[in-house]
């Protein structure tokens, strides 16, 4: 394990950003967000940025291919892929886990090479949460915030940051900044872990009953009477899907730049009425069906296709951001016990 004093953390950021681009959570008037590091930029003390870290691998909009159209002929121009090496510092355990879930979607056959390319260029440095919030419930999904994962994991006490490489890429990263790091005992972060574990144990959403969410129960849950009531006030604004680190639906669109056609993909939301509208109609006519889709996907459909892994990491963003205070925890509580 390595360490660095917090009062010289800028020297770590400088060293990390010397050879690659460094992104880290920075305070803005609207809350924390991941920003590019430049001299003097301060690391936010916030628990989690507004937006998840999925942007780094699955950006909100991404160019896929360009076309030139002339008369009856078309030319296809393959885009150059970004080849910038980067580090994302300060990712929490929940967001780090979300990458594993996104991997299951984008890296299964046929591999999404846009995502894969970004994954290969990024190194993830996680930091253990010191003050988990009341909206945090990652532990329900088997996530241990005191073992936050990523290529390098960090823990922070009052005056020191401890760093531990988890992967080869992480080791290489730490070696590249060895000058600014000092050795630390492997047990140096143990007391931080204990403190955080004790805080987690007292948080309100720790023992959700997820046992009803099984593939066998799919049709029962789908047919539940609860959806109507749960979705009643939903505005269909899509906020919950945009802030969610594991939501991965996208649209493909063309844009005429005046010099040619750009085909790009952008995040989309199953909460929107147009999402499934097609030539013969729309299978999800009201917000009840759209709302149900979002939660059935996270709690039943995704696990059915991915060895039981839920597609929620308990980051709490949808709890904090939904304008009508609806969220996945309320859904789990309403359906979890009722349909067993």
């Amino acid at each position: 394990m390595k360490q660095i004093k917090l009062d010289s953390i800028q020297s770590l950021f400088k060293a990390l950003s010397a050879t690659r681009t460094l992104y880290l959570p920075v305070d803005t008037p609207a809350g924390a967000d991941f920003k590019k590091y430049e001299d003097g930029v301060l690391w936010s003390g916030a628990l989690n940025p507004n937006r998840s870290a999925k942007d780094f691998f699955f950006p909100q909009t991404e160019n896929m291919v360009d076309f030139k159209v002339e008369g009856k002929t078309i030319e296809i121009i393959e885009p150059t892929r970004p080849d910038e090496d980067f580090v994302v510092f300060g990712v929490r355990a929940c967001d780090a886990r979300s990458f594993e879930l996104l991997d299951k979607v984008f890296l299964c056959d046929p591999v999404d090479t846009y995502y894969q390319n970004r994954r290969e260029h990024g190194v993830i440095v996680t930091v253990c949460c010191n003050k988990p919030a009341e909206t945090c419930f990652c532990t329900n999904f088997g996530i241990d915030p005191t073992a936050p994962g990523g290529d390098v994991a960090c823990w922070q006490d009052d005056d020191t940051l401890y760093l531990q490489a988890n992967t080869k890429a992480g080791e290489a990263l730490l070696n590249s900044v060895a000058d600014v790091l000092a050795e630390a005992d492997d047990s140096a972060a143990d007391s931080v872990k204990e403190t955080v574990k004790a805080i987690m144990a007292k948080l309100p959403i720790q023992n959700l009953d997820l046992s009803a969410f099984t593939e066998d129960n799919l049709l029962n849950l789908f047919g539940s009477e609860q959806w109507k009531k749960l979705s009643e006030a939903c505005l269909g604004c899509g906020t919950c899907t945009f802030v969610c680190p594991t939501c991965q639906c996208y649209d493909i669109k063309d844009f005429d730049t005046g010099h040619g056609i750009k085909r790009f993909r952008c995040w989309d939301s199953c909460m929107y009425s147009e999402f499934t509208r097609c030539a013969h109609g729309n299978p999800r006519l009201s917000q009840v069906e759209r709302f149900r889709q979002r939660f059935m996907h996270k709690l039943v459909y995704f696990p059915a296709n991915n060895n039981g892994d839920f597609s929620c990491v308990g980051c709490g963003r949808c709890l904090a951001k939904c304008p009508i205070s609806m969220n996945i925890v309320k859904v789990i509580k309403a359906l979890g016990g009722a349909n067993k």
Binding site: V65, V105, C270, T276, H280, Q293
Partner: protein, 276 residues
């Protein structure tokens, strides 16, 4: 195959346009240097696009046994399809695929007596299987084709049906239109009722393609006749964008129609939520 190859399309060129009905045209598509853009199995689909207009999924209606070109029967119903209908020979389009599971022509269908039931543009995916079966005749039993449309003019591929299928030994073709019409001396009535009237032998394997409502009633009729859902296949149609199970758009429950479908056996549909 990687998505780099699947999400980035290839080029094709329209080499023939056939007017089938007032709102359906069949387009022949070749690779720019001739031949096919890619191979496929019956029931698989492709994403066709005109850059700047849009991209949409269409069944490859030609059989894989056709080694010279691919064909698409396209119904005019919106932005992209209107544009496609204005195409002339020589127009280039982009194409990616093939997508979907296709019909189990080399496994479950082998040696079976087949009944094909289609309504309207639903003939498009079936035509691929029918011609595949015709070209591999020794592998399959009898062939019955029930095909219906609103009117005489709305029957897709009428010429091929009359000139080729109807004349072939071992193939029985039953055409029907919804309402009486001058110049039509064939059957009049809806497809589901006609299937019940014809009352097929319950050993046969049935494939139904058409509007959801037609599929539903035909299936109900077949069950009444004594068919089991495991003998009946159909195709599903939902909004699609990626074609590879990643954009999250075309799911019915835990299944993605673009990847796990579009072909489903009707007993599989029972295990899926009724959201299509």
């Amino acid at each position: 195959m990687s998505v780099q190859e699947t999400l980035i399309p290839k080029l094709g060129v329209v080499t023939d346009v056939r007017i089938d009905t007032p709102d359906v045209k069949t387009f022949r598509v070749n690779a720019l240097d001739g031949g096919k853009v890619f191979d496929h199995m019956p029931g698989q689909c492709a994403m066709l696009s005109i850059p700047g207009v849009g991209e949409a999924m269409f069944s490859i209606t030609s059989s894989p046994t056709n080694t010279e070109f691919m064909e698409f029967s396209i119904k005019k119903c919106g932005c992209l399809t209107n544009w496609l209908h204005q195409m002339e020979e020589g127009q280039q389009i982009t194409i990616r695929g093939p997508y979907g599971n296709g019909f189990p022509v080399e496994t479950e269908f082998k040696g079976k007596d087949m009944v094909f039931v289609a309504g309207g543009i639903g003939l498009a995916p079936l035509r691929s299987v029918i011609n595949y079966v015709r070209d591999n005749r020794q592998n399959y039993g009898t062939v019955d084709i029930v095909y219906g449309s609103r009117s005489m003019e709305d029957l897709v591929d009428y010429k091929e049906i009359i000139d080729v299928w109807c004349k072939e030994e071992g193939i029985n073709v039953y055409l029907t239109i919804d309402r009486e019409q001058e110049g039509w001396d064939g059957h009049v009535g809806f497809v589901p009722n006609y299937v019940k009237e014809l009352g097929f032998d319950t050993n046969k394997t049935v494939i139904i393609c058409g509007p959801p409502i037609m599929i539903k009633f035909t299936l109900a009729g077949l069950i009444e006749l004594g068919f089991d859902k495991t003998q009946v296949y159909t195709t599903m149609e939902l909004k699609m964008k990626c074609g590879v199970g990643k954009c999250g758009r075309c799911n019915i429950g835990a299944k993605y129609v673009c990847k796990d479908g579009p072909v489903f056996r009707c007993d599989q549909l029972d295990e899926m939520p009724n959201e299509y």
